[in-house]
Every structure is written in structure tokens, then in C-alpha cells.
Amino acid sequence: MATHTHTAAAHDDHDHKPHGWRRWVFSTNHKDIGTMYLVFACTMFFVGGTMALIVRAELFQPGLQFVDPQFFNSMTSMHALVMIFGAIMPAWVGLANWLIPMQIGAPDMALPRLNNLSFWILPFAFMLLLGTLFVPGGAPAGGWTMYPPLALQAGDSFPMMIFAVHLMGISSVLGAINVVVTVMNMRAPGLNLLRMPLFVWTWLITAYLLVAVMPVLAGAVTMLLTDHYFGTSFFAASGGGDPVMFQHIFWFFGHPEVYIMILPAFGVVSEIIPAFSRKPLFGYESMVYATAAIGFLSFIVWAHHMFTVGMPLAGQLFFMLATMLISVPTGVKIFNWCATMTKGSLSFEPPMLFAIAFLFLFTIGGFSGLMLAIVPADFQYQDSYFVVAHFHYVLVPGSLFAIIGAVYYWLPKWVGRMYDQKLATVHFWLSAIFVNVLFFPQHFLGLAGMPRRIPDYATQFADWNMVSSIGAFGFGFSQLLLPFIIIKCLRSGAPAPARAWDGAHGLEWELPSPAPFHSWEVPPSAAVIERGAEH
């Protein structure tokens, strides 16, 4: 331990920040790391979106038009991996980095160096994953679920995909542990758990889910690797292993993963709706308990992804009923948001538009999920475009709309400038219209019997596929507005006040705009916490 006698006055430079590339590469500042996560997620969103457009271009009409079936399958698999692990999850981690310390009155994340590491693992993971496009045998084409024995038949891409998934998992776990420790130990004095903003609550539960399930994914993919290269038979039927068990293990990770992608969206919507309704959130505590209940239930419903592989009737009943049970806490949330808006002084700025669209469209995804939970019905829908429509309704107008809404809500706080709200409203309407043109017809296709993951199809499916592809291109190109609006805002946006939205509450709105490089070096006072905790 170094000891020395203090002789001179210490004057900290509280706005000191490093410059140049070192600021980013060696950053331990939660805002800089949050920005890097968000930029990375945006980049991956366009990479994954391009893959989706290749898929939709091929499906524009029956027959093989542009790509061979192997590449088509690679595109569907890679699109999923890139969007889940490269776009949605990093976007949430980026938002958590930006917002959690500001919202709990902490100077930074609890473990800033770990935070830097968890971000910088990601680009390498995705270099490895995207590098599979250029190796013999092409990119993984057996689906993002990596089911054996199909996944084991991949070429040189197989070990690259496994190591990429490991790296993504390490990055996620490091980020989750940092969030858990930050929220548990770094809250300002007086900010007890039931006064935390909903975004912090939902992230705390998300992080807990990540910590609980990531070893399962890591173990599962490691066992795939050892089955392929080291002669083990965990999932190889020829050696006494059980390939179906991989599906159980994978979905034990995979279903909580779905909630990992959607719970923070609930948090964001719970922040935006009260702000633009100019009312406190209805039923704050019930929202917290509903989130926790959803988190718990997410561990006991995994087998609804695999009703058709065969399981005892009791198992089918249990997983069906447990899945349906999730609609109870989810319904609590939906009704609470509606109650918050009831008799509120509503205004419809872009964040609110995205939040309301989330409310409607996520509910559609929830209802189709309920349909899929019914075992005999699922036997019909399994592996059809109905499933594709369901999870895209949950993830695109669900997670993605909440992410975009969050960006439009907090952007003035981040950059200190107001963006072009008219253009953002245009962005919203284009997104809301095209997302439905893109995904709603897929319900019809699925109900009519079109299987997923096929590059060619019977002519009876041609019309709705054409509509869906038109929606895909419209949705994809309209998203270019988002970076344009952000760049325009950075260059020429009008200065934003500290409280950019008059109904916004929370500690982050007590900070000046843009939020200073070091926020809450000194804990916020009781009065500030009191003001901020008006949910």
C-alpha cells in the first residue's frame, strides 16, 4: 500500500476526458462504452437486415432467383445469430450502460474495466462469425439453434461459430454481472429497490436471467464441439447420446433468452408512457412483481418450442399451461400501461409513438404466442411461417421498436441536442406500416401451410410472399432514416434542455444535457432522488 503525505490542494478536473482513439479503445466510462455498444448494434442491425433482405428477395416469387439453397439457409441462420447476439442484445447492453448509472445516481458502472472488456470481445466474436461466410462450406446453415446432428455437418464454419457463440456468451455474462453488481451496490443513498426506475428493474431481472442461463449455452455448445472433434457422444445417438436432449438444453437457455431481449423493452415503455401521459406509472409495484414473475416462468416453459419432438402427455400439459400462465403477468403490464394512459394528458412525440406501437404490435405477438402454446394447434403451426410471424412480432415491433423509442427518448440527454421530430415521426409511420406489411401476411402463409427455412415454395403462397417482401424492403430502407436523424441532430440540432420532455421523471433528467462525462460523482441529494422517484 502506498502512503504519502498530502501537501498540496487537490483540484480535480471533473470534465477531463481522454481524446482520440484511446478514449474509445481504453474507455472505462459508462457513457462511452454505451455509445460503442449502440453503434455496434446499429451496424449489426444493418448487416443482419441486409441478410434478411437477401432472404426476402429470394422469396419475392416462387423458384430460385438469386441465391442457391445452401446460401439461403446460411442467410436465415446468420440473420438470426447477428440480430439476436449482435443487434438486439448489444443495443440493450448499450442502453443499460448509458442509463443505469445515471438512473441510480452512481458515478459509473461498478466494474469499469470489465465493462471495457465485455464490449471489446464483441467485435472479435462477430469477425469470427461473419468470417464463416468466406470459409469452405460456407456459413452455418443449420439454423441459429445449432441442433445436432445437422449442425455437425457444417464445414469449417462449425468451430468458428462455436467459438463466436462462446465469445458472445462471455461478453453477455460480463455485462450482466456488471449490471447486477452496479444495481445492487451502487445505488445512491435513499434509492431503495422499490424506488428504482422500471428500466433498472427490468435490466436487473434480465441480468439475473443471463447469469442463470449462460453456462447452459456455453456447456451445450462445448459438448457439440467435443462430440464433433473429441469423440464424445453427449448428443450423438450412435454413441448412446441423445440429440433431443440438446434441444431441451438449448431451449432451457433459449426461452429465457427471449425474455432477455424483451424485458428491458418493458422497462423502456414503462418510462416513456408515463412521461408522455404526464401521469405516474399505474401500478409500479405490480409491474416489478410481474417482471419478476415473467423471469421466473421463463425457466419452466422451454419445451413449448419442441412439442412435436415427442414428450409425455403430462409434459405437454405442464408446458402448455405454464406457457399460458405467462400471459397473466404480461397482461398486468399491458393493462397497467393502458391505465397509465387513461385520462392522461397525452402527446404523441416520436418516443410515445414507438411505445404505443409496441403496445399494440407486441400484444399481437403475444396472442400468436398463446396460439402456439396450445399443443394440438402447435402441431399444425410448428415450423411454419406462423412461427416466423409470431417471433418477429415480438422482436421487431417489440424489442426493436422499444430500442428505437429509447433512442428517441434519451437522445437529447445524451447529445444535448434535439432531433428533427417531424422526420422521426415519418420514420415511425414508415416503420409501423411496413413492419405490418412485412410480417402480418406471414401469419396467413403459415396457416396455409408454408414451411419456414425454404428458398422455394408452392405457387399458392406467391401473393402474400410478394407483399411480405415489399414490406421487408420498405421497412429495411426506412430504417436508414434513424442514423440520418441522429447525424443531423449531432450536426445541427437545437440545444436541448436538461429535462427534454416536460413529463419526464428520473434522476437522469436532473443532470444537464448533454450529460457530463462524469455523472453523479457526488451522490444526488434526497430531494433530487425524491423528485426523480416520482414513477
Binding site: H4, T5, A110, L191, P215, V216, G219
Partner: protein
């Protein structure tokens, strides 16, 4: 033994050591419970990853709880004011003649740092209580002022101070 007043302050940690243990053991229970069930069915690599992850979580909690070891101790004796600022890897000490020292609470340093509390003498100063809230800092200033006194003052120290 000269009369002395001693004030020790530490940063706020929202997690107590017992709370940290409870949280850690609870999380271990969930993680190892899942891993144990799968290990019993032969899928032991999951347990290995669970152990690694829990070690990491334990280290992260331990590192964060180290904040508790940061402390500032102000000892006021008849003729001296001694300040010890203790961080994880370093200790800084400052010493002032009590007769010529004074407590200063400056306002409006910045919107995020509304006040700054220092003990000053002869052109030297030492900031204390930077991790306190503005109200706590003010309370500390109110408590220190009669102990240290103004410039060229040495008020009598209360006897029996801990």
C-alpha cells in the same frame, strides 16, 4: 493524552456484506441447482461453466464491496488536525496546525458538485467528504466547524469524544 475528536466517514454502499453473501449464495443456489440437475444426466460441462461464472460473480461482488474500505478519518487534537484519506491501494495524509486551520464549505462549484468541503491552512487545502451528498457534507461541516474553529482560533475540545 491531549483531548481529541475523531470523525471517520466511508462511502455509501447500497449492499451490506450480509446482503452480498445472501445474494451470492442465492445466485449460486440457482446456477448450481440447474447445473447439478444436468450433470446428473451426464452433461457435466455445464457445471464447469457454472463454477467459472460464479467465481466471476463472487470476484465482481468482492471488488465492488471494496469501496467500503475507502474511508476518510479526521482527527482533531489540541494543536493539530490530521486527515487520512484511505483508498484501496493508497493512503494520503494531511496535517494542519489547528490554530491556523479552518473549515470551508464552498457553494456552486458545479451543477453536479454543488458544494465542496475543505480544511485549509497556509495556502494548503484538503478536500474531504467528496463521496457524501450535499446535505451530508453540510452536516459534516457544521460538526467540524466548532471543533477546528476559525482562523487563529483554538476552541476547547469536548472531552470524552470517541
Amino acid at each position: 493524552m491531549p483531548a481529541a475528536a475523531r470523525i471517520a466517514i466511508t462511502p455509501h454502499c447500497s449492499l451490506t456484506p450480509s446482503g452480498a453473501w445472501t445474494f451470492f449464495l442465492g445466485t449460486c443456489g440457482v446456477s448450481f441447482g440447474i447445473a447439478a440437475l444436468l450433470t446428473l444426466r451426464g452433461y457435466w460441462p455445464i457445471l464447469a461453466f457454472a463454477v467459472l461464472e460464479m467465481l466471476l460473480l463472487g470476484w465482481a461482488l468482492y471488488s465492488s464491496m471494496q469501496r467500503r474500505h475507502r474511508s476518510e478519518t479526521i482527527v482533531v487534537t489540541d494543536d493539530r488536525v490530521e486527515i487520512e484519506l484511505r483508498a484501496r491501494n493508497a493512503t494520503v495524509r494531511a496535517e494542519f496546525p489547528r490554530h491556523w486551520a479552518q473549515v470551508k464549505l464552498r457553494d456552486d462549484v458545479s451543477p453536479l458538485r454543488p458544494t465542496r468541503l475543505t480544511i485549509e491552512s497556509g495556502g494548503r487545502s484538503c478536500e474531504i467528504g467528496s463521496f457524501l451528498t450535499a446535505q451530508e457534507r453540510q452536516q459534516l461541516a457544521v460538526r467540524l466547524a466548532p471543533l477546528i474553529g476559525g482562523m487563529a482560533e483554538s476552541p476547547p475540545l469536548p472531552s470524552g469524544q470517541p
